[in-house]
């Protein structure tokens, strides 16, 4: 990234003592860039709001991973009242087995966030590899890769996911793979467009003229420049992955051994929570999904505003 504002470039990072080796210079530059990025990010109210919400849910997931949050085992909740509206004892009410909905939501946060994270990393890796290859190579390789990408965009992901889940079975890792492998085309197109514009810059041409091999040019010159955009896109993909997981679970394709927000909604819906009027059972997990997706979207937008120069100028 080039600096546009000289005032910001002079970040208050003291140069380390001793001789400046190329490695030290590089780290110094990176620390400055990071500091500059954080200062710009902090100014975005939307981004900070999203960050606070996401941190809250990440803490909730860690809390659940450490074994807290109450029991979700129906045998241990036999003495609890069933389908109890929110009360002091059960702040979010209970379900048809007397399990506290709060416990379900806390337990669900772990798997829901994990699925979103891993699936979007898969999507990022696949999308970046294909986008980079298509952008860097020209001619047939580009044409074929982009044809496959565009064909995958046409395939409605949920219909494909249903078919795959029906054929492959309902296991958490299969669900993660399905979401990862159906959400990469957008990233691939974005990365390709970025690579095409970066490729033409003079310093890339210079590196190639000096005899830099293709792998060197891609890894050292193109990838670092495309990385910020990929990162912003990945955060937006987390939101899509969490939405996708919840939709699959709602259709009853979730992993029966793992509780996610989507499976809680599926359970509530199929056990007739609407006719019973047990709104708390449905609204609590739904609110969690909406908040996490909203938070990732806001963070992604705030990121985009910083790393995407076209938007920033406005």
């Amino acid at each position: 990234m080039t600096t546009t504002e000289p005032a910001l470039a002079d970040a208050p990072v003291a140069p380390p003592p001793g001789r400046l080796t190329p490695r030290k210079v590089r780290w110094l530059r990176r620390r400055r860039a990071l500091g500059r990025f954080w200062r710009q990010y902090r100014a975005s109210g939307m981004g900070m709001f999203g960050l606070v919400i996401l941190t809250f849910f990440i803490l909730m997931a860690i809390y659940s991973a450490l074994g807290y949050g109450g029991s979700t085992n129906p045998i241990e909740t036999l003495q609890n009242p069933t389908l109890e509206p929110p009360s002091l004892e059960f702040p979010l009410g209970t379900d048809n087995n007397g399990i506290s909905v709060l416990s379900l939501v806390i337990k669900g946060s772990k798997t829901s966030l994990l699925v979103g994270l891993i699936a979007s990393v898969i999507s990022m890796v696949v999308g970046t590899l294909i986008g980079m290859a298509a952008g860097y190579r020209t001619g047939w390789a580009d044409t074929i890769l982009m044809f496959i990408t565009n064909a995958f965009i046409v395939i409605p992901w949920l219909a494909l996911a249903i078919v795959l889940a029906a054929l492959l079975g309902q296991n958490l890792w299969i669900i993660i793979m399905i979401i990862g492998l159906t959400s990469w085309p957008g990233t691939a197109r974005l990365v390709r467009a970025q690579v095409l514009s970066v490729k033409e810059r003079t310093y890339v041409e210079r590196s190639r003229a000096l005899g830099g091999p293709g792998s060197h040019v891609v890894m050292k010159h193109i990838l670092p420049n495309v990385m910020p955009v990929i990162f912003a896109n990945t955060i937006l993909t987390i939101a899509i992955a969490i939405l996708s997981e919840s939709a699959l679970s709602f259709l009853g394709l979730g992993d029966p051994l793992n509780i996610t927000w989507g499976t809680v909604i599926d359970q509530a819906f199929s056990k007739g929570a609407i006719t019973i009027g047990a709104w708390w059972w449905l609204i609590a997990p739904s609110t969690c999904i909406v908040l996490v997706v909203l938070a990732s979207t806001m963070i992604g937008f705030a990121f985009d505003e910083i790393v995407n120069p076209r938007i920033r100028e406005r």
């Binding site: 044809f147 496959i148 565009n150 064909a151 965009i153 046409v154 395939i155 409605p156 992901w157 949920l158 219909a159 494909l160 249903i162 078919v163 795959l164 889940a165 029906a166 054929l167 492959l168 939101a239 939405l243 919840s246 939709a247 709602f250 259709l251 009853g252 394709l253 909604i265 819906f269 609407i274 006719t275 009027g277 709104w279 449905l282 609204i283 739904s286 999904i289 909406v290 908040l291 997706v293 909203l294 979207t297 806001m298 406005r314």
Partner: protein, 328 residues
Amino acid sequence: MGTQRYLLGKLAQVLLTLLFILAFNFFLFRLMPGDPVTLLVRQAGATLSAEQQDELRADLGLDKPMFPDQFLDYMGDTLTLNLGESTIIDPGRPVTEIFVERMGRSLILLMTSTIASIVLGMLMGIYGGWRRGGRFDNGSMVTSMILYSMPEYVLGIILLLLFSNVFQIFPTSGYIDQVADYTGIAYVADYVNHMMLPFWTLTLAYLGEFYLVMRSSLLDVMGEEFITLARAKGVREKYVLRRHAVRNAMLPTVTLIALSFAFVLGGAITVELVFTYPGVGLLSYDALQNRDFPVLQGTFLFFTLAVLIANLVADLTYGYLDPRVRTA
């Protein structure tokens, strides 16, 4: 010249994609463990001897080599709209026939709600972008972000909770009153009444996206020099907006419409389930629950074709709106 080449190019692309999707659909269902006969025996609990199973395989052409014989059979069958027979949901009934019955209902719901969300979203986006930072813009911005983050079926459930428990205004499931047996105007009114909740769910669910894109694309255009020029010439604001800004800002939205159609169809599956609206979406859910593979394969093909056609329409619209695309 340019226009013709553009059209031909797009058409060739669509045909190639269609071929790719058909091949994908074929191998997807063939490469999975277990052939249709084994699956049928396992699920339906049909007691067939080994010879009977072999006979059935020969009947279905499964004893031939997968490529090219089975593949060519499949292509021929698909192109003549012979999609096989349902195994579980409606045993023995041709899949195509089931589709004909269901398709109309889904198309009506999807077309009306997509058009409504595009029109409403774009109008709101234009107004919001024009009065950027105003009360309307801020309000719509927050609403759009929340709607954008909400899964379609969650919105459906909220509407269902409101309208089935709190106010009992609209019917909560089905597409028609099965008992009443209406005809004429009464039939239409009853249909519309049943479609109201799924329609508003899908419309509201995709409104946010169109608002956000239209607004940001309008803001992009408003920074362009030709807008400043139009203003400098003394063109009235109303005309600057209508003739200069909106026309150019439409382009990215048209692209979005095409891209989002794959998502709209996904949403239709869950929304039809929430409201038990018997369209193709609910059919694919039933096929999934019963592992009725011929129907499942058919729904997959149907959804993909729908997106492909929508994409072609969007591409052609884009070419019409932006002459540069045609000549490039």
